[in-house]
Amino acid sequence: MADISADFLGIKSPNPFWLASAPPTDKKINVLRAFEAGWGGVVWKTLGSQVKNVSSRYSAVDYHGSRVMGFNNIELISDRPLDINLREIREVLKEFPDRAMIVSLMADNDKQSWHDLIKRVEDTGAHGLELNFGCPHGMTERGMGAAVGQDPEIARMVVEWVMEVATIPVITKLTPNVHSVVPTGLASVLGGTNALSLINTIQSVTGVDLDTFVPNPNVGGKSAFGGYCGPAVKPIALKFLTTIAQNEITRKVPISGIGGVSTWKDAVEFMLLGASNVQVCTAVMKHGFRIVEDMCEGLSYWMDEKGFTKLDDFIGKSVPTVTNWEDLDINYHIVANINQDKCVHCGLCYIACEDTSHQSIALDYGKPYNKYTIKEEECVGCNLCKLVCPVDDCITMVEQRKAPEYMNWKDFQRLGMPLNDH
């Protein structure tokens, strides 16, 4: 059986699954339930100057009958008194000493406030701090959250303030509301942060109510931009994560991966792309804490199947496979093949290719079932037919190299090779 215990900057947890700083980690009662369910750690919901929240706070995007494909919130940092939060953190630490307890922080924008807050939090015995440089709403207008994360210089300054007093590991959480997360990530590492976490939520409008004409969530007839998360943002999170995992400087610190992690498979993908552990929120807000059981078991079985005995065996394994487009092999060529025994004649591959791609599928009319076959000489190997096919392994992509040798776009241009003639 694989060992799925995790060590993040010396902070140990029985598994690499932490709950992200969010409503599920706002109170002792929630966190105790999470630990009882088996979560490896939590990042306690952001502490700072006490705020006041509005109602309603959440909205979601449903897709094709599935609820909460994407999730959006306009909730601020913890709206409970700091004393209560600190007391509860202490109490939870006592009950579950084997779980990671990180506390998210967002102090007012001056050095003293940060220093005071850090000292009070460290007093609880917490294992680490996470700096919230990412909250995209409410706090930003006050010069906090994403307002810090979007400006590398300010971010570095705040990190330096923090590092002056912090005696426990510091993780800096990055906002995705930038064209690249690397500048702020880099500034934070240069400022001395011990680790990075990403992504925070993405500014969004999830939709507009077609009866009231007010976007969601509706707060007394008005709405505000919220922070988007959940399965829909995972691909964006993976991209940002990869850029941090590939940068010469930022790759030197551990990364905690966040953004739409819902299953053990999602977690593995984040870890393959460089995350040492993952943080989860939306999935538990939809299903409750019980999902961690399958996450642990699924990860463990997968590691056994692949022959990995510990997490470090595969963390970052996929990072080198992401390259620049111009380094891709132009001579690599695949064509689609339809397994006629599996085909259910739905025609989805045909209409997708015919209307929107390369007219590479032939239709032989039949009543009621048409027959579809690939015109190999026309197929560019784009994958579209395979992606839309509803039957597993019905359409496969078969390798038919253009030439045996590797040749990228730069070589191709240098040699003056011919471009497509139609």
Binding site: G65, G347, L348, P368, Y369, N370
Partner: protein, 446 residues
């Protein structure tokens, strides 16, 4: 043993004859099913519908909560799409062709989804069609059944003024008078006809029978064209001794009585034998049971392999408690005091395939005898041959001969539906009405 009415209480009748089709309770339930549909291209379901309803499109429209658009899509191809979603043997049409069958999964509940949209449209009287301004042309339609109403609706949409001559007191034809009431309730049939008429430009003259109250030549002289959707109706005789005994009835009139008189008015025996295994036989047997018959036995001269009804239909009969006897053909009805007491049947074995491709029954010489007090004959229907011949229409054994667009041997006279095809599904008649309307529009130069 006796044949009587008033066997049940009003509550029992109402329960036995209430709509058997489960609706979707709410939009969410419909959405779950609609979202299962993978939106096939050149979809097998659509190709398997005689009226070519764009099934993936209307289901997608339910999924996007465009229910009006969904109903419009259905009615554009089939103005009786509401009724058809209740009476079509979808297991051998759209749902039978659903690609999910090829994945060994349950097919999409197309009929149930179709009911969801159409019932809403009919109930809330959505005006989904507008007719073009009247072009002054006038067409007479004979028969307010599926073929006639479908033809009338297409013509009226094109600005033709249509007058429908109907021999019964209500419209809907077979839908109203010839199908089990629990499949399509009398209330629904009336609502459906009213919905079709709400387009405007269509007037139905009831209690007007061809050859009795009105003649073809008369209509030809008064209208620019005539469409005949007169259906079939005569029950095939068994031609066996005892057929004249009191207690031997044909399924057509038995079902007609149920649909037109009220359940407690229709007499049914204690022990009923039903001859045949088509849809009408099923409707007669199940309704005999639902009227309170103690024992209903269905007899068929071939096996389940060859039966004309679908397995879904057969299961309704079985669930209603009807007994099934395969490989038996009626030989003689025995009686006492002029009333049925027994049915003697020859047992059969299957021989060589006949013209229909089905193996034909061969008499074994052995017999079985059933104690019964009522025999319902559902051995097929015959066209109105006399009427067709009298009006000098070219025909084959009474079935009017037409080309693809309903053109008959008489200029300006068109025909379609059961009177041409000899008796198929409602949905086939609806398509025939559309084809006939196209032929008439061509003929009128519209």
């Amino acid at each position: 043993m006796s044949i009587t009415n008033f066997r049940l209480t009003t509550e029992q009748y109402d329960e036995n004859f209430s709509d058997i089709h489960p609706p979707f309770e709410n939009l969410t339930a419909a959405l779950v099913e609609a979202n299962r549909c993978i939106f096939c291209y050149d979809a097998p379901c659509m190709k398997s519908c005689p009226t070519s309803i764009d099934v993936p499109k209307f289901i997608k429209q339910i999924a996007t909560e465009n229910i009006k658009g969904s109903a419009h899509t259905i009615f554009s191809s089939n103005i009786m799409g509401g009724g058809c979603s209740k009476v079509c043997p979808v297991e051998k049409l759209c749902e039978g062709a659903c690609v999910y069958n090829l994945m060994e999964e349950e097919p999409i509940q197309i009929a149930r989804l179709q009911r969801y949209s159409t019932e809403k449209a009919i109930k809330e009287k959505w005006p989904l069609f507008t007719r073009k301004p009247s072009n002054g042309k006038r067409v007479a339609v004979i028969g307010a059944g599926p073929a006639g109403l479908s033809c009338a609706h297409v013509l009226s949409r094109e600005g033709v003024n249509v007058t429908v001559y109907e021999k019964e007191a209500k419209g809907g034809g077979l839908m109203t008078y010839g199908i089990a009431a629990y499949k399509v309730t009398p209330e629904f049939c009336e609502d459906e006809v009213q919905y079709i008429l709400s387009l405007g430009g269509i007037e139905i003259k009831y209690n007007q029978e061809l050859g009795k109250n009105v003649s073809l030549t008369e209509l030809q002289s008064q209208y620019d064209a005539v469409y005949m959707g007169i259906g079939v109706g005569l029950a095939r005789q068994l031609a066996i001794p005892g057929e004249e005994l009191d207690g031997v009835v044909d399924a057509i009139s038995f079902i007609y009585d149920i649909r037109s008189k009220g359940y407690n008015q229709v007499k049914v025996g204690d022990k009923v034998a039903v001859i045949g295994m088509g849809m009408t036989a099923i409707d007669a047997a199940t309704q005999a049971k639902r009227l309170g018959a103690r024992e209903v036995t269905m007899l068929y001269r071939r096996t389940q392999e060859e039966m004309p009804c679908t397995e879904v239909e057969l299961n309704i009969a079985k669930l209603d408690g009807c007994k099934i006897v395969w490989l038996a053909t009626p030989k003689e009805v025995l009686g006492a005091d002029g009333k049925v007491t027994q049915l003697v049947c020859s047992t059969t074995v299957l021989g060589e395939p006949d013209a229909s491709g089905r193996r034909s029954p061969v008499d074994t010489g052995e017999t079985i005898t059933l104690d019964v007090d009522m025999v319902i004959k559902a051995a097929g229907q015959m066209p109105f041959e006399k009427l067709v011949v009298e009006n000098a229409l070219e025909n084959k054994y009474g079935k009017i001969v037409t080309d693809g667009k309903g053109v008959t041997s008489i200029a300006g006279v068109f025909a379609g539906g059961d009177c041409v095809n000899g008796g198929k599904e409602v949905v086939d008649a609806v398509q025939a009405g559309k084809d006939g309307a196209a032929g008439i529009l061509d003929y009128l130069g519209l």
